[in-house]
């Protein structure tokens, strides 16, 4: 009698338990491991974060923005990730368009941008230079923003502004087929090229 009840219970739950278990193995073990294996085998550089290095020292990822404050470098967009470009705490400001904090922040950033780059007062600053991105890790700035920073960077490096602008143009990516993506400059890539082409003495 007892054996029959046990058997009946097992039969009632058998599809539930076995289908769950097998689908768990297929979707949560075999599938991710297959992607991991193929990805690592075919695209090792990309699968591991597109890391870039200078003199054998890893300095970051090509895809993840990082903080630059010194005058001889191009600067990234403002960031709301952690205390700024914290790549273990991504996120945006989530400030609404009418937020007073946002309006004040932007006003202050515009002034700072003008002062820092020694631009004539009243210069219109491109919007990407004074707003935070969704991830807080945006690796790019617009060519318009880069162009306004050229003079400062060239001066700090004792380089010819035209030559620096040329480098910016070289590192400007255009939309694919003219409409997929946006014109942009990868800040880390550009700054690494600057260090190579127009080195500054670092103590």
């Amino acid at each position: 009698m007892r054996a029959i009840t046990l058997h009946a219970t097992w039969e009632a739950f058998r599809p539930l338990l076995t289908v769950t278990a097998t689908l768990l193995v297929i979707t949560a073990v075999i599938y991710p491991l297959a992607v991991l294996g193929v990805g690592q085998a075919l695209f090792q550089h990309e699968a591991n974060g597109s890391l870039v290095s200078v003199d054998g020292q890893t300095v970051g990822s090509n895809l993840i923005g990082q903080q630059f404050t010194e005058a001889q470098y191009f600067h990234p967009r403002p960031s709301a990730a952690g205390t700024g470009y914290d790549a273990s705490s991504s996120g945006g400001s989530n400030l609404g368009p009418a937020s007073k904090t946002l309006v004040d922040d932007v006003q202050q950033r515009v002034q700072a941008f003008i002062t820092e780059n020694d631009l004539p007062p009243g210069t219109k600053v491109p919007v990407d230079a004074v707003t935070t991105s969704g991830s807080g890790l945006d690796p790019d700035i617009s060519p318009a923003t880069a162009a306004l920073e050229v003079n400062r960077v060239a001066k700090a490096r004792g380089a010819d502004p035209a030559a620096v602008q040329q480098l910016v143009d070289h590192y400007t990516a255009q939309p694919a087929l003219g409409f997929i993506g946006e014109p942009r400059v990868n800040v880390l890539e550009l700054n690494m090229a600057l260090d190579k082409g127009f080195p500054v003495y670092k103590p």
Binding site: E11, R14, P15, L16, V19, T20, L23, A28, Y31, P32, V35, V38, Q40, A47, N48, G49, S50, L51, G60, L63, I64, Q66, Y73, R77, Y85, D86, A87, S90, G91, G92, S93, N94, L95, G96, P97, A98, L102, V103, V106, Q107, V110, K124, V125, P126, V127, D128, V130, T131, S133, G134, S135, L137, P139, S142, A144, A147, F179, I180, G181, R184
Partner: protein
């Protein structure tokens, strides 16, 4: 709307519609048990599962048996994820040594993934171990989508079969949807994503010294495998806190395009399948046309609103007009590589479906721009909709429309040869009203006292929008947010959790 954005929108819609027919035909074959080109590889696995489970694939269930199977399966899946989240500190693949997730957050997350909502109260890279992400969440990403599709297939069978009392076998539909449709598609998409720079690794977070000499800790993980199914299954729960705005989840304009297509390709295919199985592909294309028009309308409104920029910044000396060397517009919360067009299209698509992933922060959208995703969710996400659930939401609208039209012309309303009577219309209305009730009741409670309002980033009218958005998102099983709201508090975790349950299961029942 710039020419560039218009071109991109056109490209997106054309590719999507071109993919709908072949995928729809393939899915019809899968659910009808006919031979497909994947049979030589997948069929033995499928048969093995049935043998192990003692399931006779020819034996169909009535709607009660089918429903009980769904509920039992969801309950077990929920318990499994809850336990994994609570115990992640003692489980392997936890290089950052995260502790177990606290009960209310674990409840919210487990409900959220079980119901295909994927509301992110958790901040991926700062809360969850690789094991929780890979085993716990990925499993739900697959099966919650497969369940959605199974429900739709069962519903179609119920509609088109005139005499039979059975609607199919849940275990068979679940297994087929996962093995023949979701796993192969996800694998292809995942490998493409890795090739573009989406990471997929088990090594721990990487600490680097930046070019300027600062420190940066790069969060890592098995991202690509989860990213692919997060889109295809219209799940939307990100590996990282910033979701698909994060460069490791969505590094280029190409990954952005493919991920957006992945959100709607199965729903669009299901619309075609619906027409096919109901015996009228023309009816399928009519629905497709309606959905496409609504998609375009939302995308264009959001695009124009965001491209116009934030009027509050006009006096701050900011240039917000688009040109050849800057995107312009309201760029707060948006990534430069996507600009305005590819961000607003994503916001529209993710709420047309019940996806809820974001590549820009909806909270920072302008009033009209933010209204588009809210309206999309509030109509129940029937513009293509979530995998399976969107289409059955649309069926509810159709039944209601047929009923009203029938009353107006004074004849008995019928749909697909079935009479629409008082019982059907009552059931439809309960589904619609429960949805509105869940949203409004919870929002009202949250607005009047401190346990609700203390968690807002923005005061006033925008704060109310944050609350309303949160509960709409929960009830509609979307999972995107006006993220300024700090939803990781006990009240919001439980409240939104209940909303998700109501939104998911009541219409089903």
């Amino acid at each position: 709307m710039t020419l560039q954005d218009a071109g991109f929108l056109a490209l997106y819609v054309v590719v999507l519609l071109a993919l709908a027919k072949p995928l729809g035909l393939y899915m019809t074959a899968v659910y009808e048990g006919r031979h497909t080109w994947l049979h030589p590889i997948v069929r033995p696995v499928e048969r093995g599962i049935y043998r192990l489970a003692g399931v006779d694939e020819e034996r169909e269930q009535g709607w009660k048996g089918y429903l009980i199977a769904i509920l039992a399966f969801n309950l077990l899946g929920f318990l499994l994820l809850y336990v994994i989240l609570r115990a992640q500190g003692h489980l392997p693949l936890n290089p950052q040594d995260f502790a177990g997730v606290k009960p209310s957050l674990a409840f919210n997350t487990a409900v959220s993934f079980m119901t295909n909502t994927n509301w992110q109260s958790y901040g991926g890279e700062s809360t969850l171990s690789y094991f929780s992400q890979m085993v716990g969440l990925t499993f739900h990403n697959f099966v919650s989508a497969a369940v959605g599709m199974a429900i739709l297939v069962a519903l179609i069978r119920g509609l088109v079969r005139h005499s039979a009392s059975t609607i199919g076998n849940f275990w068979v539909d679940l297994t087929r949807g996962t093995l023949y449709i979701l796993v192969p598609l996800a694998f292809i998409v995942a490998i493409f994503l890795v090739s573009q720079g989406v990471i997929d690794t088990l090594s721990g977070y990487k600490s680097v010294t930046t070019l300027e000499g600062g420190k940066q800790l790069l969060a890592m993980g098995p991202v690509a495998s989860q990213e692919a199914i997060k889109m295809l299954g219209t799940n939307g729960g990100g590996f990282f806190n910033a979701n698909s705005a994060h460069p490791f989840e969505n590094p280029t304009a190409w990954t952005n395009l493919v991920e957006m297509l992945a959100i709607l390709v199965i729903p669009a295919g299901l619309v075609y399948m619906f027409g096919k199985m109901a015996g009228s592909t023309r009816h399928g294309w009519v629905l497709m046309g309606v959905m496409t028009s609504l998609l375009l309308a939302g995308a264009i409104v959001a695009n124009v609103a965001e491209e116009a920029g934030n009027p509050n910044l006009d006096s701050s000396g900011v240039s917000q007009s688009a040109s050849a060397d800057q995107p312009g517009g309201n760029m707060e919360g948006k990534e430069l590589r996507f600009g305005i067009g590819e961000s607003t299209l994503w916001a529209t698509v993710t709420t047309d479906a019940s996806n809820g992933s974001v590549n820009s922060m909806h909270d920072s959208y302008t009033a009209i721009g933010g209204l588009v995703p809210l309206a999309n969710m509030a109509t129940g996400e029937v513009i293509f909709g979530g995998v399976g659930v969107g289409m059955y939401g649309m069926v509810l609208y159709i039944i209601l429309a047929v009923f009203i039209a029938g009353l107006m012309v004074g004849r008995t309303p019928e749909y697909l040869g079935k009479k629409v009577g008082a019982t059907e219309v009552k059931a439809v209305m309960v589904a619609f009203l429960s949805f509105a009730l869940a949203i409004l009741a919870f929002s009202a409670v949250a607005s009047v006292d401190r346990f609700g309002t203390d968690n807002l980033a923005n005061g006033g009218a925008h704060g109310l929008s944050e609350i309303l958005y949160a509960f709409t998102s929960g009830a509609a099983n979307n999972g995107s947010a006006f993220a300024g709201i700090n939803a990781n508090s006990t009240f919001y975790n439980l409240g939104i959790g209940i909303c998700m349950l109501v939104g998911r299961f009541l219409p089903m029942v």
